[in-house]
Amino acid sequence: MAKIEDRAPGSTASLNDDIGEEKRLALYRTQVVIREAEQRAYDLFLQNLVKGTSHLSLGQEAVAAGFAVAMRPGDLSFCTYRGHAHTLARGVPVSKVLGELMQRDIGLMRGKGGSMHLTSVDHGVMGSYAIIGAHLPIACGAAWRAQYKGQKDVSVCFFGDGTTNIGAFHEALNFAAVWKLPVVFVCENNLYMEYTPISEVTAVEHPAADRAASYGLPRIVVDGNDADAVYRIAAVAYDKARAGDGPSLIECMTYRYSGHSRADPAKYRPEGELEKWKARDPIKLYRERLKQFGVGDDAIARIDSEVKREVDEATELCKAAPPPSLDILTTDVYADGGFAWRN
């Protein structure tokens, strides 16, 4: 168990060890896996080994970790094109994710989906959706199935701040609230829709939370760089959903260190903003948290090196892996496995 008395003087960390060391180590490891894998994806892109586009979650790791670690097996994740983090957070091996980004036969979808569509049904990752807002109604549908069949899983739907201005967001929120569906909507507010500050194009300060009242939901804004805070609010929302008390909408304040996509150098950001957020880096912050709860430097370093090794090994595995076999071009268009549209 963590030792609360070791808490650093003046720390803002909660005294309440409601989370426990096992979960805290999982929260830390998950964040480090995302950080290392995303950084590696970026490096591999610079080497032209990751092709197409990619949208990294560097700086946003605590949101993915907090929500995923609070889930139960069987809970379902619905992600966006910025979905590497949420996919990794559910325990999908790094080699499967990097393999898909690198267009290898060992990739999650053997190169048929690419960076923006990571899917691993076995891990509860029900897809990554690249049309803004599309997956909010889809998550409602999965939650409706759980409600209909009396199953206790929760559907968790992640999206960015920009999504709050598209129609499907509002249709889904109303639908979920009226039907009291066991779905949790998670807005990762990283301050920029793509290149444009969300504040310049949105009528309210908090693009998700300030709309919650329209759907009879409480206004929830959480520090998205604090994995403990995220974990706690996730647990509350999941309990509410499982109890049959309907959806939640949670806005997590965070920041992406890189541009919107690999094509974006993010020159639109005001000077000093990135540095300010990096001072509150979620992983740095969580290392301090672990120490406050008595986790030693060596234990932290061990996780760091284990993750580094996993990512290194995954990278080598992917580099050596063959590209997809050409015969999959026309498979799985229809449920019979093929693409026949005529006799």
Partner: protein, 326 residues
């Protein structure tokens, strides 16, 4: 055997599948308590209850998205989009989500659902409530597309659509709802991807869909009576999968091809069928294939204008007769 309206066949078709499989659920705007704006779902709410027949807000994206999420995770939803024109406000699901999830996920994600919708003209509703949009769906890999023309086919193809493991877009024709036809007793299950020769003939093949099928049959009778021309009318029924064998077989016997399409001319399904016949049966043809379509216009509301726009019995007969005598 019983005589049933096309409208009542929709009700019976849905009820047959909901009775068979508790995972079949039905949602849409005004479909439950109100029985549907076309009264094509009357009694389902009373029979199956508010959990299985559920009214939704006017949120077409939520309707189709929810149907997809439910289908992915174990239900067999039937979702209604009241007018097919409204596909334009939820087309993301039809074009990007239903049909691509299986492929993009390398077969991990399934999407067994049915979207039923009121399609087609004749009701004087004007340009945004009258369109025939089956070609919007036909062009998308991953979808299946059917459009029944008779009460019997409504039930049989509905059963086939609900039991199919792929997303099926089910076009009901609004102007056919009051029409009647003989329907056998008991369960009816048809097969997707099968065309039907509804009137055999030897002089020309007329391909038609939905409301154009009875018009093509009537035109064939007129041609027979007035000109001694004996046309074979093929109800295409299913655009995807497409029964090209029945179509090519008919053309091989009659040597002439006509399509009767309610959709505006450009990129109508008839163009694809003509192209297939041209590719694969060119030397069976004794004359150029002819497409009889609505002009490349939005549909007008006034009855005399709408009637002028849609292929009519007289226009079909005249065009076939003129072409055969050329």
């Amino acid at each position: 055997m019983a005589e049933l309206t096309y409208r009542d066949a929709v009700i019976r078709g849905i009820a047959q599948e909901m009775t068979r499989d508790p995972d079949v659920v039905f949602i849409g705007e005004d479909v439950g308590k109100a029985g549907g704006v076309f009264k094509a779902t009357v009694g389902l709410y009373e029979q199956f209850g508010p959990v299985r027949v559920r009214d939704t807000p006017i949120s077409e994206q939520a309707i189709l998205g929810a149907a997809m999420g439910a289908a992915m995770t174990g239900l067999k939803p039937i979702a209604e989009i009241m007018f097919s024109d409204f596909f334009a406000v939820c087309f993301d699901y039809i074009a990007n989500e239903f049909p691509k999830s299986r492929y993009m996920s390398n077969g991990q994600v399934k999407c067994p659902l049915v979207v039923r919708t009121g399609n087609g003209g004749g009701a004087r509703f004007g340009a945004q409530h009258s369109q025939s949009v089956e070609n919007w769906c036909m062009m998308i890999p991953g979808l299946k597309v059917v459009a029944p023309s008779s009460p019997r086919d409504v039930i049989g193809l509905m059963a086939a659509a609900v039991r199919d493991p792929d997303p099926v877009i089910f076009f009901e024709h609004k102007s056919l709802y009051p029409t009647k036809g003989e329907v056998p007793d008991g369960e009816i299950v048809d097969t997707l991807g099968t065309a039907k020769i509804v009137r055999p003939g030897k002089d020309a093949t007329i391909l038609a869909l939905a409301l154009m099928v009875p018009r093509a049959v009537a035109a064939a009778e007129k041609l027979k009576n007035e000109h001694g021309i004996d046309c074979e009318v093929v109800d295409v029924r299913s655009l995807v999968p497409l029964d090209t064998q029945t179509i090519l077989g008919s053309v091989a016997r009659t040597h002439r091809l006509f399509t009767v399409e309610e959709n505006p001319r450009l990129c109508g399904w008839g163009a694809e069928l003509v192209s297939i016949v041209a590719d694969e049966a060119f030397y069976d043809l004794d004359g150029p294939p002819v497409r009889i379509t609505t002009p490349h216009i939005p549909l007008p509301a006034a009855d005399i204008l709408e009637d002028l726009a849609l292929p009519s019995v007289d226009r079909i007969a005249e065009r076939v007769q003129r072409s055969l005598n050329a």
